[in-house]
């Protein structure tokens, strides 16, 4: 112990010290947000350009495939997207593939958009169906027969009685799927809705898919975005902040960016410090 220099001590710091520093660094910036400017990345721009093409009356599916744990990343993007769909005059069908807490997520979205949901009528402008199990077969079934999984919506109204669903029982009348994911549910839609099966009528345009996911999906889905299977990719709270900047509706993601800035700088400094100490102690060990 007495032979330890500062670099050795730095390498043996109790990890709880880091946890406290991190927790404080993440919390304090919310007290006084600065609001640094945000560069828009091409994938978020492409998403925004895509939803701007929604015409009045066109139907969009919002598939909430993320739980309450991913609210930090996914919720702001969903809120901004729903607001934009409303602005464009589009209509919304909402369901979840595999997340039992979708009810609370949808309630939170409605809470964040009182100006939208005071004007939108449930059943005519939007419909919320709720949970269905996490399987690709589920998505394949929804493509051909929505009523098989959702014979009624969460209010208990039969799907046949819902005005919005009058001519819709599958993927062929849907313009987009906006999939908010922590995993790869968006690929279910790409595989089953967009790319096949090959039995869509020639006059029908299969819906295109966009991702509103967690930050890790930026890595996993960039290849699909570049190949054209996804028309847009909004990943993480950073992507959500970009979308908020594009739509003009600054929300939770923009506020979180200050906290992200501080914590990321801390992490980079920690990494630089640990590498310097590694090189400094390497000579001693030799």
């Amino acid at each position: 112990m007495s032979g330890q220099n500062i670099w050795d001590k730095l390498q043996n710091v109790d990890r709880r010290v880091f946890y406290w520093i991190l927790f404080v660094a993440l919390t304090v910036p919310f007290l006084s947000p600065i609001g640094l400017p945000i560069t828009i990345t091409p994938s978020s721009q492409a998403f925004y350009d895509g939803i701007k093409t929604i015409e009045k009356g066109e139907v969009v599916v919002l598939s909430i495939n993320s739980g309450v744990s991913a609210w930090g990343d996914c919720l702001p993007a969903m809120v901004a997207s729903v607001h934009k769909v409303y602005d464009q005059g589009g209509k919304l069908i909402v369901w979840s593939i595999g997340y039992t807490d979708v009810d609370i997520t949808w309630a939170k979205i409605k809470e964040k958009l009182p100006d939208v949901f005071s004007k939108w009528k449930e059943g005519e402008d939007y419909v919320y169906f709720g949970y269905s199990p996490p399987q690709e077969t589920n998505v394949a079934l929804l493509r051909d027969n929505i009523r098989a999984i959702y014979p009624k919506d969460v209010r208990g109204v039969a799907t046949d009685q819902i005005p919005l669903m009058k001519d819709i029982n599958g993927a062929n009348k849907i313009k987009f799927v906006l999939s908010s994911d922590t995993g790869d549910a968006q690929m279910y839609y790409v595989r089953q809705w967009k790319n096949g099966p090959v039995n869509y009528e020639k006059t029908e345009k299969p819906p295109t898919v966009a991702e509103l996911g967690i930050a890790m999906n930026k890595s996993g889905d960039m290849a699909y975005f570049l190949s054209g299977d996804l028309f847009g990719l909004v990943a993480g709270s950073r992507g959500a902040a970009e979308l908020e900047a594009l739509t003009g509706y600054k929300g939770d993601a923009t506020i979180t960016m200050d906290s992200i800035s501080v914590s990321h700088i801390l992490l980079v400094l920690a990494i630089i410090l640990t590498n310097i100490s590694m090189f400094a102690t390497r000579g001693n060990k030799k």
């Binding site: 807490d101 077969t137 099966p197 039995n199 990494i271």
Partner: protein, 218 residues
């Protein structure tokens, strides 16, 4: 012969169901009765859905067995297991009431909103701490591979944080390029190789060579 219904018939069922799905995908329009609402493919998909919905009970039974064992053996975790059983039973009762009557009682909503949501978000967020300490202890440029990992990681970190742009304009430029292009070779390779592996695995499962799904009978 007596084992046929325990093994071979199972593989035949798997194969037939998979074949129907594949026929629906490629030729559904041209083969009557396969594709579309109410036909074989749709029916099998509905059945798979229902089977999956019913399977959640297995997890519940397993957990109840584990916690019951803790209570009956009076281990030092017994008091937590007792709390688990009591709280689980209460919530289940409230939920069954909602299922039976369609009315969601306030305690159920209250517990969902304040207990489940808070704990759910917190438990997943705890990994943020570990990633920080792991990065401090292990993220070292010991060799070229680690150095490339480090450089890529740092540039992406500083591209994701708006402050990176304030420090130097090159951080978002290079970091976003890493995000949009630099990582694509690696990730695309994982995608392609993974898909090829899935195809190989799928065909092995179809011809009965992959038996991992089915627990072996003594």
């Amino acid at each position: 012969m007596s084992q046929i219904y325990k093994r071979e018939m199972v593989f035949i069922v798997t194969g037939v169901v998979a074949l129907v799905m594949m026929l629906d995908y490629f030729f559904g329009k041209n083969i009557p009765g396969i594709s579309g609402a109410g036909n074989i493919s749709s029916t099998l998909q509905t059945w798979a859905l229902i089977i999956q919905l019913m399977a959640i009970g297995l997890g519940a039974i397993n957990l109840i067995q584990v916690h019951y064992r803790q209570i009956s053996r009076k281990t030092n975790m017994a008091v937590y297991s007792a709390w688990f059983m009591g709280f689980f039973a209460l919530l289940l009762l409230l939920g069954f009431y909602k299922l039976a009557t369609g009315v969601e009682l306030y305690p159920y909503t209250w517990i969902f909103k304040n207990v489940y949501v808070s704990l759910g978000t917190t438990l997943y967020a705890i990994t943020g701490f570990y990633i920080f300490s792991a990065a401090y202890r292990a993220f070292r440029a010991r060799n070229i591979d680690a150095a490339i990992l480090l450089i890529g990681g740092i540039f992406v970190l500083l591209a994701n944080a708006p402050i990176g742009e304030v420090i130097w304009g090159g951080f978002p430029l290079i970091g976003n390029w890493f995000n949009n292009v630099g990582q694509v070779p690696g990730m695309r390779t994982f995608t392609v190789v993974g898909a090829l592996g899935l195809l190989a695995f799928g065909f092995r499962a179809l011809i009965g060579k992959e038996r991992g799904f089915y627990s072996e009978v003594q």
